[in-house]
């Protein structure tokens, strides 16, 4: 097997006495699409923030193509090629969608190429109707797409999505699932999500978090068929 794109070794994060993430060994291969699921408080979001350098680990390491990212600044991690979409859309609300994308594209490309890269993503996401409106005035689902397009304009080597379908209508979710599958043809992805039906439409491999640790890792059918996973979601374990 080829070297993993990103892996964690013994990754832990404590908040005071709370062990949010405990000793996690995780690895993602090039080209993979991985979903992280788990009930509220399982440590998914903390793990996500550790991967992206938004918080520093208490112990362990995060290696991206062999480079330890744990002690890098956020912009240095981004320069390695890790693109992030946060849970609440993190965009430039006062700028138009086109200006938003341009800032992302200009990181790599000179003026003309940046303009071209922007237009490509506008077309891909069907943003042209509202490309020149301030993003702050757009609907929540549209802003989610602007953020996805923004991340892609940055030409990432790995894309991390935190609840990409949150707050979307059914129609928008279907389209978003399509887009994610399409993005995966070119980019490896890690998707944090707790909407099971959405995961069913996009996932191949799933990592299940519970109480700060990895409960299991497997293919979609394996995970959805597992009694342990059902117990966690239905809360049987707590009762037992």
């Amino acid at each position: 097997m080829s070297a993993p794109l990103i892996e964690t070794r013994g990754l832990s994060k404590y908040f005071g006495g709370v062990q949010a993430v405990r000793n996690i060994d995780f690895s993602l291969a090039e080209g993979e699409l991985r979903c992280l699921i788990g009930p509220n408080g399982a440590g998914k979001s903390t793990f996500f923030k550790l991967l992206t350098g938004q918080i520093k680990p208490t112990g362990g390491a995060v290696l991206f193509r062999g480079t330890d990212v744990a002690n890098l600044q956020a912009h240095q991690i981004a320069r390695l090629g890790i693109g992030i979409k946060t849970q609440v859309p993190s965009v430039f609300n006062g700028l138009t969608a086109r200006q938003n994308l341009w800032v992302a594209a200009a990181r790599h490309d000179r003026r003309k190429n940046a303009d071209a890269a922007v237009e490509t993503q506008i077309e891909r996401f069907g943003l042209s109707r509202f490309a020149d409106k301030p993003v702050g005035q757009l609907a929540h689902g549209q802003r989610q797409w602007v953020e996805l397009a923004l991340v892609l304009c940055g030409k990432p080597n790995l894309i991390l999505l935190d609840e990409p379908a949150a707050g979307m209508t059914e129609e928008e979710r279907v389209r978003t699932a399509e887009i994610i599958r399409e993005i995966n043809r070119e980019h490896p992805l890690i998707v944090v999500e707790h909407d099971m039906s959405f995961i069913r439409t996009i996932a191949r491999r799933i990592t299940v978090f519970d109480r700060g640790s990895v409960l299991m890792e497997g293919d979609v059918d394996e995970v959805f068929g597992s009694q342990a996973v059902r117990d966690v979601y239905l809360g049987h374990q707590a009762a037992a």
Binding site: A74, H75, F92, L95, V103, A104, G154
Partner: protein
């Protein structure tokens, strides 16, 4: 070429009006008014420096007069010692820029929050004010320049033509210089804001975290912007001293800092033209209020600020472009529509 001009109609208009005023005002005005307008141009440069770092960079600088005052005193001390104004003018920009860069390094690289940036800059200008106020007496001098404490420094030489100490600028020359520098600053900032650096700076104001997620070092961008703002404020300070031939501690005062903020609030802090107009209008108002004895000037300025914050929170310039102009256009449109119908009726 024509397409470029058409796309930047607003800028072209500002440039033409600016150049026309530069030529016409010395012919039309008497000496007193020309001197007064020169001062407005200097203060407008000061307004632009804060408009850049606050309105576009999102850096809450409550003590901007620190850089203005430092530029003013740097010029005063240097020109008295050197006897020629070229190097002092450059120093009056470099020193405030260096101070802004050093302060910016500690503030932005430590990632302190906006409100503390405000508090620290405010404190900085208070420290300057109190220190320079305490420099009365012959012990406090730098070379040949006595700092003079609260009495200030009188008889500071005017600007001269570069490297020709005897060719001092007369009022008309000083007006052309300050007006010209105002225009240059205005257009240079516009050009800077259109570059990648400028656009990323605006993006930082909108969402610093996202900028970092895209791989830009937000700290470095803010630091550079802050230093540019410091240099421009220093330039304004230098011109101010060269204009009045006098400098005293109130250039560092909180009132001075607050005035710049009021110019931005009134004119519209997210624009460049707004702060220029705000600086000119408020300075003119202050002068007019000063000629009467009825009400204290600060009370009126405070009232003006209150009115604007409550009624025109984004300032005059954005209100005109975003609200007034669309409203006027909407008045025209129905009329045009009925005209069309009339035409169709005829046909």
């Amino acid at each position: 070429m024509i397409a470029v001009l058409r796309a930047n109609r607003g800028l072209v208009a500002v440039g033409l009006i600016g150049v026309a005023l530069l030529i016409a005002l010395p012919l039309a005005l008497d000496l007193f008014d020309l001197l007064q307008i020169t001062l407005y141009a200097i203060l407008a440069i000061l307004a632009l420096s804060l408009a850049f770092i606050w309105g576009y960079g999102g850096i809450l600088c409550f003590g901007h007069s620190a850089f203005f005052g430092l530029g003013a005193y740097t010029y005063a001390v240097a020109v008295i010692n050197i006897g020629e104004s070229t190097a002092p003018l450059v120093l009056a920009m470099l020193l405030p820029a260096a101070l802004a860069a050093a302060l910016g390094y500690f503030m932005f690289y430590a990632r302190i929050s906006d409100i503390y940036v405000g508090v620290i800059t405010l404190t900085l200008t208070l420290i300057f004010y109190n220190c320079i106020n305490a420099t009365a007496g012959s012990a406090y001098r730098i070379g040949d320049a006595y700092l003079g404490g609260f009495n200030g420094m009188p008889n500071i030489p005017s600007l001269n033509i570069p490297f020709l100490p005897d060719e001092t600028l007369e009022p008309v020359g000083m007006f052309l210089l300050c007006g010209g520098l105002l225009l240059i600053t205005y257009f240079a900032l516009h050009a800077l804001l259109a570059t990648r650096f400028g656009r990323v700076l605006i993006a930082i104001r909108e969402n610093e975290q996202r900028v970092e997620f895209l791989g830009y070092d937000a700290r470095l961008h803010k630091l550079a912007a802050f230093a540019i703002g410091g240099a421009l404020a220093g330039l304004a300070g230098c011109l101010y001293v060269a204009w009045g031939n006098y400098v005293s501690p109130p250039v560092f005062s909180v009132v001075q800092s607050a005035q710049i903020i009021i110019w931005l609030m009134v004119g519209g802090s997210g624009t460049l033209l707004g702060p220029v107009l705000g600086a000119i209008a408020i300075s003119w108002l202050t002068l007019k209020i000063g000629t009467q004895q009825l009400v204290n000037a600060s009370v009126i300025l405070g009232a003006v600020l209150l009115v604007f914050v409550l009624l025109v929170p984004r300032g005059v310039a954005p209100m005109v472009t975003d609200t007034l102009v669309p409203w006027l256009l909407s008045l025209r449109r129905p009329a045009a529509g009925s005209h069309e119908i009339a035409q169709q009726g005829k046909a």
